[in-house]
Amino acid sequence: MNIFQLDGEDIPFRAGQTVMQAATRHGVYIPHLCWHPDFAAHGSCKLCTVKVNGRFGSACTLEAQPGMNVENRTTELDDKRRTMLQMFFVEGNHFCPSCEKSGNCALQATAYELKMMSPHFDMFYPDRPVDASHPDVLLDFNRCIMCSLCVTASREVDGKHVFAMGGRGILGRRIHINSESGKLADTDFALTDRAASICPVGVILEKRRGFAVPIGERKYDKSPISAQVKEKAP
């Protein structure tokens, strides 16, 4: 069995596994947003940046090698990750009290894990109109973090290509809907699609199902996101 070191702990891995895959399977949490175990790594959010033998790299794209010395939850890296999270929070409109995803949101849970107490930077308050055209699904782009998981899921699992990334710049780049009108209602998107349940934040929401789970019983109310990775490890 191949082994690398992660914060001083031995992590076994199979050839071809990434640092993220091996660590997660071993129950060790590496903060991330755009990585999902069911899909190929995208490597865009950079939250999973670790230090391998003293050099920065993305844990989700970096293939594990025997003898690697990987730093993960160090003060230096967590400080950088917290700063990146603060950028995510000020670039969108993340108002947790009025968000249906609150308590089940990966962005929020990651910010708790990294003890983010404030947005630190000046807020952008971008104007991002919602798309409520679809009979069963609401799209609230205010919370989009451009992880592109919906793009991948719709393309690779659903075979529909409903979503696409487009535009340039912090305020220009956004998710587009592949229909003549640009509205979700004019696509063949369905609630049963894999893409409908992939969003780590509160963009893709089922209609008529608001705040169904009470505060205290939501996913990340029970235990922090890092503890849940540990609990789920085989």
């Binding site: 929070f89 609150s102 947005p119 971008p126 991002r128």
Partner: protein, 189 residues
């Protein structure tokens, strides 16, 4: 020579605390009152300066200032600066003070459109037109969190922050510790 021993330890000077709600709903103040009987313990350790609880109108020199709410008008900015200049430690309490919160939902709308909608177009609320009394503070073009205007020493998120989180912050500060919130006490909703 040994100094004479006092029978009772000298009473520590009570810390002075000021609180205010800017563009907030007073929900954070209600959550402060939710510390229940611990407020008696708190009153042994602190005395309140300007606060909705005392009705003192201006902030004097204080050890701690608790700010609820963001900045939606010129008076909010004035009060915030008064607190910053008088308080050794300033804490942003609650979602609105930290990121603008609910009042900031108007930020993607034009201010004139909002005022016209509320005071002229909407028939249930439109009596009398847009208020224009010189005593009324002018609204800011956008709502801002307080850290965009003054230096903030600590942040206490939540809508509202739970009473236990407020208690943890106060007891940490009174004991001279850097406040920390564990899982369950740190939340944004």
């Amino acid at each position: 020579m040994n100094a004479p021993m006092s029978a009772t330890p000298p009473l520590a000077k009570k810390l002075r605390v000021a609180t205010t709600s800017l563009a907030g709903c007073f929900g954070c103040h209600m959550s402060l009152l939710d510390i229940d009987e611990r407020i008696l313990k708190l009153l042994e350790l602190v005395e309140f300066d300007r606060s909705p609880l005392t009705d003192i109108k201006h902030c004097g020199p204080c050890d701690l200032g608790l700010i609820e709410g963001g900045l939606c008008n010129a008076e909010n900015v004035h009060v915030l600066r008064e607190f910053r200049s008088h308080c050794k430690i300033l804490v942003a309490v609650g979602a609105c003070a930290i990121n603008g919160g609910l009042p900031a939902q108007r930020n993607h709308l034009d201010l004139r459109d909002v005022l016209e909608e509320v005071y002229q177009t909407e028939y249930l609320t439109s009596h009398g037109g847009i208020p224009n009394d010189p005593e009324l503070p002018l609204p800011l073009n956008k709502v801002h969190p307080i850290h965009e205007v003054v230096k903030v020493d600590y942040f206490l998120p939540g809508c509202p922050p739970p009473a236990d989180a407020i208690w943890k912050l106060l007891t940490d500060l009174l004991a001279g510790r850097t406040p920390t919130l564990g899982h369950g006490l740190l939340h944004y909703d």
